[in-house]
């Protein structure tokens, strides 16, 4: 399983044993396969819900999809540019007025999201308004790293989720 940005890291995760009851399942590969598929899909649903949690307080709707590129594989992704930008972060950069003659922005606000937290809060816009004609040095945006955070969390949960699927087949 992977998120769109970092499927490669899954290889670094330590495996945890899953117990398959000898009498009930070991000679039934179809049911074992269904259990693993169910576990993968359930874990993917968990990742997707965690991604939704990062946008709970956003005014704009963001949707996430689960795709199945092959057996026992899932990719959870979005085409939302803002979510992707926050997830990856930005470097410091200059901002120029483009359509207007000056830039206007508020300072002292609080972001709705934090790095490596799969959730979102109300945030605040800030109360000190600044207007300037010249370019402004934006300090950049700290990467939220939601994809790696969710992957780390659900790689740990995966064994439990798959085991639950195996249990459901007994």
């Amino acid at each position: 399983m992977g998120t769109a940005a970092n499927q490669g890291r899954a290889r670094d995760m330590k495996a945890r044993a899953i117990r398959i009851p000898r009498d009930a399942l070991i000679l039934n590969p179809e049911r074992i396969a269904r259990a693993v598929e169910n576990g993968m899909q359930a874990a993917a649903e968990g990742v997707r819900a965690d991604f939704y949690a990062t946008t709970n307080t956003w005014e704009r709707g963001v949707s996430f999809t689960i795709s199945r590129p092959g057996a026992f594989r899932r990719i959870i992704g979005t085409d939302d540019e803002i979510w992707t930008m926050l997830n990856q972060g930005t470097k410091p950069h200059l901002i120029y007025p483009r359509r207007a003659k000056a830039l206007a922005f508020a300072t002292g606000g609080r972001a709705k999201t934090k790095p490596r937290v799969l959730g979102s809060s109300a945030g605040s816009q800030g109360s000190t308004f600044v207007t300037t004609r010249g370019p402004v040095q934006h300090p950049g945006t700290k990467a939220r790293e939601w994809d790696t955070t969710a992957q780390k969390k659900w790689q740990q949960e995966l064994a439990t989720v798959v085991q639950r699927s195996v249990d459901s087949e007994v």
């Binding site: 939704y52 937290v117 639950r164």
Partner: protein
């Protein structure tokens, strides 16, 4: 919170409280406390699984119990190390011990959800509110073989981001012919 689960947690809190009082009064050693605590956990998880509708002595019941209790024993060994290293009893330990009572939610919900292949269970620690989660699964069995609609229902006092998102995303989570779709 589910009333039956609430009663199970209260009973667990009383048993855990007894063990902590004995430790504080130095009637038992930390090693004896750990053994007593482990026994309370095992009994509590078995009671919870039974209350959820699964026989703890059945093969699948034993498998579920082995895992849920083992998870808690892993945490307990860390707690025991802290206690053994401390010069005296600390007040915060009672609150820490009390959190173990909430862990009976995992076997309880495993039973209540008919051991369906669900992504998560309330109180399993996968939400931002961790074991304090007061949410519930509502499972509706549909016509046909192994068809279910499963709704994550948020508790009245649950406002953590994960629970809000799950309520929205899993409304319902569909299982058709035994497959999560």
């Amino acid at each position: 919170m589910d009333e039956r689960l609430r009663r199970l947690i209260i009973r667990m809190l009383a048993r855990i409280g007894g063990a902590m009082d004995a430790l504080e009064a130095e009637r038992i050693t930390p090693q004896q406390w750990a053994a007593q605590f482990a026994s309370v956990l095992a009994q509590g998880h078995a009671d919870a699984l039974r209350a959820g509708g699964v026989n703890p002595a059945s093969p699948v019941g034993r498998a579920v119990l082995t895992r849920t209790v083992a998870t808690q024993l892993h945490f307990l060994s860390g707690f025991q190390a802290v206690i053994e290293d401390a010069p005296q009893f600390e007040r915060g330990w009672k609150a820490r011990a009390g959190m173990y009572a909430e862990s009976v939610g995992a076997p309880y919900w495993a039973g209540r959800t008919k051991l369906l292949p669900l992504p998560a269970l309330p109180k399993d620690g996968s939400t931002l509110c961790k074991t304090r989660c007061g949410c519930a699964w509502e499972v509706q069995q549909l016509e046909g073989d192994n068809n279910y609609d499963c709704y994550w229902r948020r508790g009245k006092r649950d406002s953590c981001s994960t629970c809000i998102a799950r309520e929205r995303a899993w409304a319902p989570l569909r299982i058709r012919e035994g497959r999560v779709i």
